[in-house]
Amino acid sequence: MSDEIIVHEYAVGDVVAEAAYPITRDSLVRYAGASGDFNAIHYRDDVAASVGLPGVLAHGMLTMGLAVQPVVDWVGDPARITDYQVRFTRPVVVDPADGAVISVLAKIGQLDEEAGTARVDLTATVNGETVLGKAQVRVLLP
């Protein structure tokens, strides 16, 4: 490491990460086991239908969990993520045969060069419709 002042090369609006995650019912079962969230609306069509849902839904926390991964890879160290929040605005229906694809775009929403921090705004979409609102990650810039 040099003693030079680090000049970050980022600007508000820059896309810093992007990824697409094809998920299937298998992904939901895997997440259920890993997280301990065994709510049946995430794996049983009959239960989902009985409570008026359009189909089996992905766990909101699965969407939240994967949406931050491109940012984790970009900053390079989990300790650089200091705050992460989302609103669950639209359910992600996972088709039994075709699954669903969650696309994630991460842009710099706010920059504090002096503190070396940024707010990264995530856009998570399925079939072009956003599924998360106010999805923001506070990071220490890499």
Binding site: Y21, S27, R30, Y31, G33, A34, S35, G36, D37, N39, V51, G60, M61, L62, M64, G65, L66, V68, Q69, V72, D73, D77, P78, A79, I81, T82, D83, Y84, Q85, V86, R87, F88, K134
Partner: protein
């Protein structure tokens, strides 16, 4: 939905021991690709004592407090009517395998909107030394169409 839940004192959860294989399992489930989530050597090279949990892993510990909330006889919350509205994690440091974590629940607000209720549940997660690790905040929407 019972507004008296605000300010109620809940007992801290029993210590949750973060297992290495649990972290790996969770990391795979959220499509994590950072080797520090699964590889002890990669984690050690970055200065961590063991594999590092993905950012949303804290939900596993927070879940123990949400179970406490649902178990309150007078809460009036039925799981099938609960929708996850918002979630936030405010970290002091990442969770690593070997951590022994305790969570303390605080219901910070109960709002009624139409027939629905919105409950804000804040769980403060600390390690065995009593140091703050993460504060996890859930907003649960309890549908009133029961």
């Amino acid at each position: 939905m019972n507004p008296d839940l605000v300010g109620r004192v809940f007992a801290p959860t029993k210590p949750y021991l973060v297992g290495r294989e649990k972290v790996r399992e969770f990391a795979r489930a959220v499509f994590a690709s950072d080797p520090k989530n699964v590889d002890v050597e990669a984690a050690a090279a970055a200065g961590y004592p063991d594999v590092v949990a993905p950012p949303t892993f804290a939900i596993v510990v927070q879940e123990l407090t949400l179970a406490q909330l649902l178990a309150q006889d007078d809460a009036g919350i039925e799981l099938t009517h609960v929708v996850h509205g918002e979630q936030r994690f405010d970290y002091s440091r990442p969770i690593v395998a070997g951590d022994e974590l305790t969570a303390q629940l605080n219901v910070t607000s109960v709002k009624t909107l139409g027939g629905n209720a919105m409950v804000t549940a804040e769980s403060v997660v600390t390690d065995a030394a009593g140091e703050h690790v993460v504060t996890a905040v859930s907003v649960l929407v309890v549908r009133g169409d029961a």
